[in-house]
Every structure is written in structure tokens, then in C-alpha cells.
Amino acid sequence: MMILGPAHASPENIATMRELMGLDHSIPVQFIHYMGQLLKGDLGYSYHAGSPVSQELLRRFPATFELTTFAFVLMVLCSLPLGVVSGYYRNKTPDNVISVFTVMGLSMPTFWFGLLLIYIFFYKLGLAPPPMGRLSPDVAFPPRVTGLLLVDTLLNGDLKAFLSAFHQLILPGVTLAFFNLAIIVRTLKADLIETLEEDYIRTARAMGIGVKKVLLRHAFRNALLPTVTMIGAIYGSLLGGAVLTEVVFSWPGVGMYAVQSIRYLDYAGLQGFIIFYVIIFALITLLVDISYRWIDPRVQLD
């Protein structure tokens, strides 16, 4: 009402609105009511989106999930070879070049990097589609099955839509992956350097096993453990970064929803988003903790 302007804010309208939003109760009562509804999975009603918050979050989550997962895969595929190379060629040219890139990646604002990519690949080179959402406007949305466009378009057998969805995903995916890439490369490098100094590596070399084999079969696998266990934290960082990336690329995910809720002072929307994110983050952390045991049988669960 405040947002629609004084023309709509007659005293009666304000009163009905207050009653609808539950603002006629005291704050403790409102809080208890909210907590009670929360237990039933009801996160309240989002006034700017005109729908229940939980429904809106579930509708949008596949978009965020698709983006973060794509970025995650991209990040792992690029960071592992880079980490091995810079660990092996420590303080030589390849390591120095990679180091410059990782330091840059860590000190760049995610959203700024995204905007740079838009400028170069959309405005200058014309290679990327305009940064507006998940599909180009001339392609029809596939019927919703999973909500993941890459999957849904294939299920629908629509190759053109699949390519469009993929095309739209590249720039935001690269943006999101870049910052976190640097973290993995640095960890893997440090662990690899440490592992390469272990006695069993020297033994393996002394036994005449080739450098490549020692590096990949012996050192890499052992150095990977600490890196893999960092993944929970990294996924959390991806979720946080997704908020900024979604804003830059007008990506209709939950992060974008949170930012819109902030703009419209829609607290139910933002609170719902935060609770939703924390639950997902906690679940991921739990899964990573459980997988410790699976990755390294020496870890005892107490």
C-alpha cells in the first residue's frame, strides 16, 4: 500500500490490510503465529509476488539449482587440472600464471566479473545471448517436469530449446564458478605440495614408477581428500554468490526473489528465503560430514 502510493492508502484499506497481514496483533503474538505456521511448512504470504512464499521458493529453486550445479561441475572440471599443474610446477611459469589468475579471481566482485563478461561476449563480440533469464524469448518453455530446463527440454525432445537454455547458462555459470575456482586450486596446490614431500612418494619414485603415474595415481588421490571435504563450504559459497549472479543476469531463481523482496520491503519473502537457504546449506554440510567416512575410512564417527 505504501508502495502503491497515498491514493490507495485510505484508512479503511490500511485497516483491512493490517488485519490481513496480521499486523493488528502484538509482535510476540505475530512471532508465535509465524513459528507455528513455519512448522507446517508455511512461510507466509509474499505481497510483492502475490503468492505464498513457500510456493514461490519451490517454483524458483530449480533455476538456482541448475545454475549452481552447472557452475559447480564447471568449477571442478577446471580446478582439478589447474591445481595439479600449479602444485607440480611450483614457483615456475605455469604456477605463476595460474596464481595470478586465482588471486584475481579471489579479489574480484562476482557481479563485476559477470558484467564484464556481458560487455565482452554480448555487447562487443555478440556471441552471448542478452542477459535476460533462462531461455531466449522466441523459444517456448517446455512442459515442467523437473523444473531444470536442460532436463525438461531434452525430455520434450526440443533440441532448439535445449541449446537456448544451455546458451543462456554459460555466462552466469562461468561467473559463479570463477571465484570459487580459485579457492579449490589454491587448496589442491597446497595439499599436493605437502603430499609430494611424503616418504611414500619418494619410495614410489625410487622404485622406478614414472613421474606422471606417481603424480596422478599416488599424490593426486591423497591430496584430493582435504579438497573434497571443502566442497560443502564451497557449495554454500556458490549459493551465496548465486544471489549476486542472478541479479546480474536477471536469472529467475530464489536469489533474485530475495533481492526483489528486499526492494519491496517484503519481509515474509526474505525471511522465507533465508530459512530455505539455511536448511539447504545444513543438509549439504550434513551430507559432506557423512561422506568423510566414505572417502577416508580412517575417520571415526562418534
Binding site: M104, L106, P109, F111, L115, Y123, L239, G240, Y277, A282
Partner: protein, 286 residues
């Protein structure tokens, strides 16, 4: 070499000056400090004066970084904005350090129930993905640059607490702490005279690095509308303002503030790495 006191401050300073990257960091920090203290007077234009006759001009000899959609000189705005971004980052680290470090030291030194209670609270804070906790706090306090700094500070508390705790647990086992206990020093005295000084270095390194990250977080919060308010020339907010123009090719509105953010973060990271290398004999040998 064997005779040299490798723990003296002078020697450490010499080592630091030999580290080229750390020197670059120091240089950047000096540059940024100059901007923070003298920013507005370094440029020939006023950061807030609107002149529509020169709006959206590309970088040229009269406007080195170009002008924005109100015809304001971008270089003046970036120079004047340094103090907002930097001070907010520093404030957040000060908050994180002053609340986090004592909590961690107490938790680590006392152990048992105290440790259990404090660490569970820290765990709750750590259950939030980065940025999300800060978003939650600012939206509760109301969006402003000060609240953004406070929110980032609060999300830094668990990080500093954990670092201080691990140091306290390490120092607690040292002989000199045992002798202090034998001499009858109180726990508070031991924490202040033994545990704290011996935990300082890693905390200082962490504070330096996190000041850099603080710049990123401040800019991020401003970018999504939870930090500085228009027309403050905060760097993240400037990027948000320039965002509309990137698809029509006015790149300078976004590129220059971003470059300065990068410069600031890199400076603090390099100095942090430099101090870490100088103070850690293990790394020094390599």
C-alpha cells in the same frame, strides 16, 4: 645467521621488505590510504555536482575515467568513495575481532562447558552461507552502509572466534602457561599476558585478509541494495548504477569502480600473505 635473533621485529621487517609481493601490497595500501584521507581533494571535479551537458562521456583527457549518467566525473566519485567502502570494511573487521577473539580465547582456554556453549553459538552463525547471514542482519536492521558494516562484522565473529580458539588451545599446553599457573596467576591474567600475545599473529594475518574480503562484501551488499544509499559514491553501489549501461556499451561506469575494489582486496591479501610468511618459520624455509 645462527646468532641472529630471528624473532626480533627488525629482522621480520627486513624479511617483509624482501618479499616483493608483500611490498606491492604495501604500496597498494599506501595508495588506498591516500584516497581514504585525501580522496575528495585529489580530483579537480566535485563527486556530487551534476552536469547533464557532459553525461555518459567516455574516458578522455578532461574526464580520465569518463562521466556517469548525471555527468558526474567518475574519477572524483571513485576517489571520494574510497573512504566509504574502506571504512565499512575496517569497521566490520574491528567488530569481528573485538567480539570474536575474546570469545574464542575464553572458549579455548577454559574448555569444557564454556567451550561447548560458545562453540554451539558459533556453529549457529556458521550454519548460514556467507553473504546470507549478512543479508538477514541488514534486512532486520534496515539497509544502510553502517548496518552493512555491522552485519558483515557479526558474520566475521565466528571466523575470528574459531581462529582464536585453536590458538588458545595450542598455547594452553605450553610450559610458560604451566609456570604461570604454578606461580599463581589468575586465569584472566594468563589469558591477557600469555595467551593473547601468543595468539596475536595469526589473528592479525586473518584481520588483514578479511579487511580485503570486507571490501568485497560491502560492495556486494551495496550492489543488491542493502548497503550505501544513493548518491554516496560507494564502489559497489556505483557498479549497480552502471549496470544498466553495460548492455549499451558504456563500460567505464562499471569497470573503474570494480578495478579499485580488486586493487583494494589484492593489497590486503598480499600484505596478509606477507605477514604470514614472515612470522611462520615453516613457510620461511621453503
Amino acid at each position: 645467521m645462527a646468532q641472529r635473533n630471528t624473532d626480533s621485529l627488525g629482522y621480520k621487517f627486513q624479511l617483509f621488505m624482501k618479499n616483493k609481493l608483500a611490498l606491492v601490497g604495501l604500496l597498494i595500501l599506501v595508495l588506498i590510504s591516500i584516497l581514504v584521507f585525501f580522496g575528495p581533494s585529489l580530483s579537480s571535479y566535485d563527486a556530487f555536482s551534476v552536469d547533464f551537458s557532459v553525461k555518459l562521456r567516455a574516458p578522455s583527457s578532461t574526464h580520465l575515467f569518463g562521466t556517469d549518467n548525471y555527468g558526474r566525473d567518475l574519477m572524483s566519485r571513485i576517489f571520494s568513495g574510497a573512504r566509504y567502502t574502506l571504512l565499512a570494511a575496517v569497521v566490520s573487521v574491528v567488530i569481528g575481532l573485538t567480539f570474536g577473539a575474546p570469545l574464542g580465547l575464553i572458549s579455548g582456554y577454559f574448555g569444557r562447558k564454556v567451550d561447548l556453549i560458545i562453540m554451539r553459538i558459533v556453529d549457529i552463525l556458521l550454519a548460514f552461507p556467507p553473504l546470507i547471514l549478512a543479508m538477514a542482519i541488514v534486512s532486520g536492521l534496515g539497509p544502510s552502509l553502517v548496518n552493512a558494516a555491522v552485519a558483515i562484522g557479526i558474520s566475521y565473529i565466528p571466523i575470528f572466534a574459531r581462529m582464536a580458539r585453536s590458538r588458545a588451545i595450542h598455547v594452553k599446553r605450553m610450559d610458560y602457561v604451566e609456570s604461570a599457573i604454578a606461580l599463581g596467576s589468575s586465569r584472566v591474567r594468563i589469558i591477557l599476558t600469555d595467551v593473547l600475545p601468543n595468539s596475536m599473529t595469526p589473528l592479525i594475518v586473518q584481520a588483514t585478509v578479511y579487511t580485503g574480503y570486507g571490501i568485497l562484501w560491502v560492495a556486494s551488499l551495496s550492489f543488491i541494495g542493502l548497503g550505501a544509499k544513493l548518491p554516496i559514491p560507494e564502489w559497489g553501489l556505483m557498479i549497480a548504477e552502471g549496470r544498466k549501461y553495460i548492455i549499451s556499451g558504456e563500460w567505464w561506469l562499471t569497470v573503474f569502480p570494480g578495478l579499485f575494489i580488486m586493487l583494494g582486496v589484492t593489497g590486503f591479501t598480499l600484505i596478509g600473505d606477507g605477514i604470514r610468511e614472515v612470522t611462520n618459520p615453516k613457510l620461511r624455509l621453503k
